[in-house]
Subunit: 333 residues, 4 copies
C-alpha cells in the first residue's frame, strides 16, 4: 500500500500511522510525499487520517522504494566530478582490468579526453574459471584511484565480496555489482549499509522485475544512490555477439523506476567493431549514461580484449555520442 | 569455394570452369567478380585457370550469394518511389491491417507526410489463432494499392501462401515474408521465381545464420532483391515488451551480407510508448530503413492496436529519426 | 463461451441456439456434451434454454476444440496397425530421410522389430540451407509406403507444402507438420480439410499456447485427428544438445488438451548417445508415444546422421522403454 | 595439459615435473593417475620423463579437476546415512523453509518414510524481494539438525553468505549453493576451504560449461566432494512451468564429469501436480539422486507452497521412483 500524503504534510498523523503500522509488524517507508507500507492490503483509516491523505494506491509492485509510484521524480546522483541521472549524459570509460599503474594512468587520460567523468577498471574480477586472471586486488584499487584523481575523475569499480566492502569503499566513488552477483543478496545488503552509490548490473537471465527487486535490497537497507546497468542478456543467439543488448529495457525501466539507467555496449556485444553502433543506439534509446571498455593494446589485454575500443575509436565514438545527445536535447524544448 | 576472378575477366576460362563444375554436378553461381561453387572443398586448377584467378576462398559460409565474400558491395533496391540500401534511409509506415478503403487512404496520407515512401498494410494476416481477424484478402490489396498510388508511394505487404504469390504480385512492390514463415521453404522458393523484391523478417527464434540461410533460398532461386528485417526475438523476458529488439543484429548483418537491413520497432516492443525510443535506437544502429505501424484509433484497430503510433506521435518520431540520420551522415565525411 | 449441455440433449434447443449465434455472426462448434461459441462474452438465455444447460463457462482458452474444457476425454487415433492416445504407448521409428528403396526396407524391418507400428521417413526435407539434400520427393514416398506395407506398419511423413497435400495423402497415414512450419497457417488449413491424422511438431520458440492455437487451425477446419510432438526448444545452451528437451510440456499439455502427446528425443538432443536416456525420460514423463530416428550407417546418412540410433541400440532402447511403460501401467491399478 | 602417468607411478619423475612446472609458475594438480598443468600448451619432456608417461592430452576443458579426462571414475560422496554417486539412487526431501521445530520434525518423518536419507530445509532463504520471509536463521539450522538426527538422516541446507560458512558447517552435512549464487565466486572459494560436500545448483542461465567451471572453483580450492543439481533453466516459456527442466543436461554432465548429478523437479516445474511425472523422468534420465520439496499444508507454507508435494503424493511418487530405478538397475547386468 502506498499512501500519497496531502501537502503540507500533517506530521502528527504520519507519526501516528507509523506507530499503528509498526504495531501490525509492517515495514514502513516515508518520503516527502508518500508513505509505503509493505504487505498491507487493507486498512481502515479514521476520518482524521483520511483528511491528511490524497489517495491510497493498493496495487503496487513488489519493489516499492524504486518505483515511480513512491518516488515520481528522477534520482540524481552527485559525485565530485559527475552527475548521473536527470538531463545529463554521463560517460564512464576505462580498461576491463587495472593492469598496472602506468597503464591505468594512460587509459584514464584517454577516457577523460573522450568526455568520461568516471574511470572504470576492475581490481577484483569475477572470472568464469578459477584459472583466469583474478585482478590485482587492493593494489589495483590504489592505482585506479590515483589515475582518476590525476585526471579529475570519479571511480567506479566492482566489489565482489561483502567482506571487501569497507576496503573497496576507501577507493571508489561508485560500487559496481556485477551481473553474476545481481542476486547475491548478502552482497546487496552489505552495500546497502553504506551511502556510496551502487551501479547494479542486470543479470544474464534477470527479468526487469528481478533487477528492480534486487535493487530494492539496496534501497530498503538505506542506500538510495542506485543506478541500473543494462549489459546484454543471454539468449539463443550468441555466435556473433556475446549477449543480446536489450535496449527496450531502457525506456521500460525509465517508466517503472526513478533510478538512472546506464548502458554497457561493450559487454552486450563483446566485439569492439560492434561497440560504436551499439553505443549510438544506446544513447539514442535515452539512457542516462554509458560505460565502455577501452584499451590501447587489446590483443594483450589481461581480460576482455576483444571488446575493448582502441583510443582513436573511443574518441570518435564518444564525440558522436555527445553530438547525438545534444541533438536529442533540442527535441525536448 | 569462392573464386575471385582477375579483371578483365577471361570469359573463356570462366565458361570452361563452369562446364567442369557442372560435370561434377556442382551448383555454380557467377557475378562480375566471383564464381561460387557449392560444396566443393578442393579442385586442381590448370596453370591457365590459375592465371585467370586472383584468389580462392575455401572457407565460406553456408549462404554464398548473400555473403559479402561473393558480393562485397551493398545491394540497392530501386522502386518507383523509393531506394533501399546504400546511403539512403527509407521509412515504411502504415496500419497493421488494411481495414477499409477510407482508412488505408487516411493512413497513407499520414505515412507519406512523415516521409515514408512505402506504405505497409496487411490483407492476409498470420494470426496466432484461427478465430482472429484474418484480413480483407484481395480486396484489401486493391485498397492498399490505390492508397499508395494516390500518395506516390510503393507498397509492401505480406504474402503467406505460395498459391497467392501471382495474385499478390499484381498489387505489391515488395513481398513481405513474416517471421512465422521465415523457414517456410516452399513460400521462399515461390517468391524466388519472381523478380519482385522480398523483405524477409527474422523468425522469433532464428539465429543470424538461420536468417541468412533462409534468404539464400530466395537468392539461389534467382531473386536477388532481398532485404532483411529485424523485428525482435523471443527471450525469457516478455512482460513489458512483446519481444527483445536485437539491435546488435544490425551491424552484425551488415558485416556478413550486402542486403539492406531494416528495423521494425513496432513488433519488437509491442507497446506504442516504447516505439519512439526504439525507433531512434534502430536508426542510430545504422539500419537502412524502418517499418512502423500507425493508426488513428488504436483502441479499435483490427489487429495490434497497442503497438500503433497515432499520427502525431508518428510525425514527431519520423522527423526526429530523419534528423538523427542527417547528423550521422555528416560523420562519414 | 462453452456451454455444457444437460443429458439427454435437447436437440431443439441446441438447434435454436445455433441459429441465434449464427445470426450474431459467431462461430459455433458442437459435440456430444458441449456447445462452444467463439468470441462471445455474454448471452441472455431464456428459461427454456437455461433448463437445457448444465453450466456455462465464460473463461476459456483461445483454443477451444483442443481444450479439455470442450472435450474432456482423451482423443484416440486409430490407424490400420496402430492406436495412438489413451492407454497405449506407440513407437514410431525410421530414418530421417528416405534414402533408397532398399534402405528404407531394411530400416522398416528394424523399426518393426523394435515394436514400432509407424514408419517414419522424410521424402521432402525442410533443410536450413537450399544446398542440402532436399529429399527424394514422390518416389521416396512410394518407397516408404511399400516398406511400411511389407512390415505391417503405418506411415508418418512430413508435408511441407500445401500444394503437395493431396499427393502426400495418397501415401501416408499421418501428416507430419515440421517445427519450422508450425505456424504456416496456409499449410495447417490445407491439412485441416483432409481427415488424415496430423502430427504437429512444436516450433523451436513456440510456447505451449502457440502450439495449441496452431492445432486449433487444424481442428477448426474440421480435422480432429491431431497429435502434438515435443521435440526440443531453442534455448541459450546448445553446445552439447541441439535443443532443450522440454519434458515438462508433456504433463502440462495433458492437462490442457485431449490430443495425444508424442516425444521426439532424437531432434531434442541431436546426439545419438543421449537419445536412450532421453527416451527413457520421455516415456517416464507419461507421453503417449515416441518418434525416433534410426540408421544402420549414420556416418553416411543423407541427413541428421549424428542423432540416429544404430539398430542394436534402438532395439535395446525400445525394449527398455516398453518395459518401463509396463511397470508404469501397473501403477495406475 | 593432462599427463597420464604410467603405473606404477615413478614418483621421482612426478616430483621433478612438479618442480619444473612450479618454476614456470604453472598450477599443478595430481591424482593417482594423472598430472594436470593449467595453461600449458607445450612442453619438451626428457626421455626419462617420457618413459614415465602413458600419454599427454593437450586439448582439455577449462575445468580440469571435474573432468572425466583427469578423473575417469565416478565420485562417490559418503555421509553417515547416505552415499551419493555410483550405483545408488539417493532421495533428498523436506520443506522449502524450516518453519518451526515441530514442523520440520513432522516433515523429516515423512521424508524418511519415503526413502529419503537427506533432509532438506532452508534456514537462510535467497528471496527475490527483500520483503519476503528470509528464513529462521541459525535457530532454523538447529531445528533441522535435530529433526535429521531423530530420523537417522543427513542434512542438506543452503549457505548464502561466505561469512556464514563456519556457522552453517556446524549443522549441515552438505552445503547447498543456490542457483542465484552459482557464480558467487567468493562463496565458492569459502566452501572450497572446507571438506564438507557441496551441492552446486545450476544457475537459471548457466550453460553446462558455466556450471562445470563454477564447480572448479570449489575443487581447485581443495574440496572435491561436489555434486551438481539440475533445477530448471530460464527460457521463453514460463506460463505453465516456472522453469524448463533440462534433463538432457543429466547424460551430458555424466559424460563430462565424475561428480554425481542430482535433479530437482520441484524448482524445475514449480507446480506440485507436475512434480511426479518430472520426478519419474528425472529418475529415468539416469540421475544419481533427487531433491524434492514436501509440505503437509502447502497453502500456508512460508515459501514455495505451490510446488510442494503433500505427504501422500510424495510417498507414492518416491515408491514409484525407487521401483523405476530398480527396473533400470536390472538393465545394466
Amino acid at each position: 500500500m502506498i499512501i500519497q500524503l496531502k501537502q503540507p504534510i500533517n506530521t502528527t498523523i504520519v507519526d501516528e500511522l507509523k506507530v499503528k503500522f509498526a504495531r501490525m509488524r509492517k515495514q514502513v517507508f516515508v518520503n516527502n510525499n508518500y508513505l509505503a507500507v509493505i504487505d498491507l492490503d487493507h486498512f481502515d483509516f479514521t476520518d482524521q487520517e483520511s483528511a491528511a491523505i490524497d489517495q491510497v494506491k493498493m496495487k503496487t509492485s513488489t519493489y516499492v522504494l524504486g518505483s515511480r509510484m513512491f518516488h515520481p521524480e528522477d534520482t540524481r546522483i552527485k559525485l565530485p566530478h559527475s552527475q548521473i541521472g536527470g538531463s545529463d549524459f554521463t560517460m564512464m570509460a576505462g580498461p576491463c582490468s587495472v593492469e598496472s599503474e602506468e597503464h591505468i594512468r594512460r587509459m584514464a587520460k584517454v577516457a577523460r579526453q573522450g568526455g568520461a567523468t568516471l574511470l572504470r577498471g576492475g581490481a577484483f574480477k569475477p572470472r568464469t574459471t578459477p584459472y583466469s586472471f583474478q585482478g590485482l586486488g587492493e593494489e589495483g584499487l590504489r592505482f585506479l584511484r590515483e589515475a582518476a584523481d590525476e585526471n579529475g575523475m570519479d571511480v567506479i569499480t566492482e566489489v565482489m565480496d561483502e567482506t571487501h566492502v569497507p576496503m573497496v569503499a576507501e577507493y571508489t566513488d561508485v560500487f559496481q555489482i556485477g551481473a553474476r552477483n545481481m542476486q547475491n543478496f548478502s552482497l546487496l545488503k552489505a552495500v546497502s549499509k553504506t551511502r556510496i552509490p551502487v551501479a547494479l548490473k542486470r543479470g544474464l537471465a534477470a527479468t526487469i522485475d528481478d533487477l528492480l527487486n534486487a535493487s530494492e535490497y539496496i534501497a530498503s537497507g538505506g542506500n538510495h544512490n542506485i543506478m541500473l546497468i543494462e549489459r546484454g542478456i543471454r539468449t539463443f543467439d550468441n555466435k556473433y555477439t556475446r549477449n543480446t543488448f536489450d535496449l527496450g529495457a531502457v525506456p521500460v525501466l525509465q517508466k517503472l523506476t526513478h533510478y538512472p539507467i546506464i548502458v554497457d555496449p561493450s559487454h552486450a556485444v563483446g566485439a569492439w567493431d560492434l561497440v560504436a553502433p551499439m553505443a549510438y543506439a544506446g544513447a539514442a534509446s535515452g539512457a542516462s549514461g554509458m560505460i565502455v571498455e577501452i584499451h590501447d593494446d587489446p590483443e594483450h589485454a589481461f581480460s576482455d580484449g576483444p571488446q575493448a575500443l582502441k583510443p582513436d575509436n573511443y574518441l570518435a565514438m564518444s564525440a558522436h555520442v555527445f553530438a547525438l545527445r545534444q541533438l536529442m536535447d533540442s527535441w525536448e524544448g
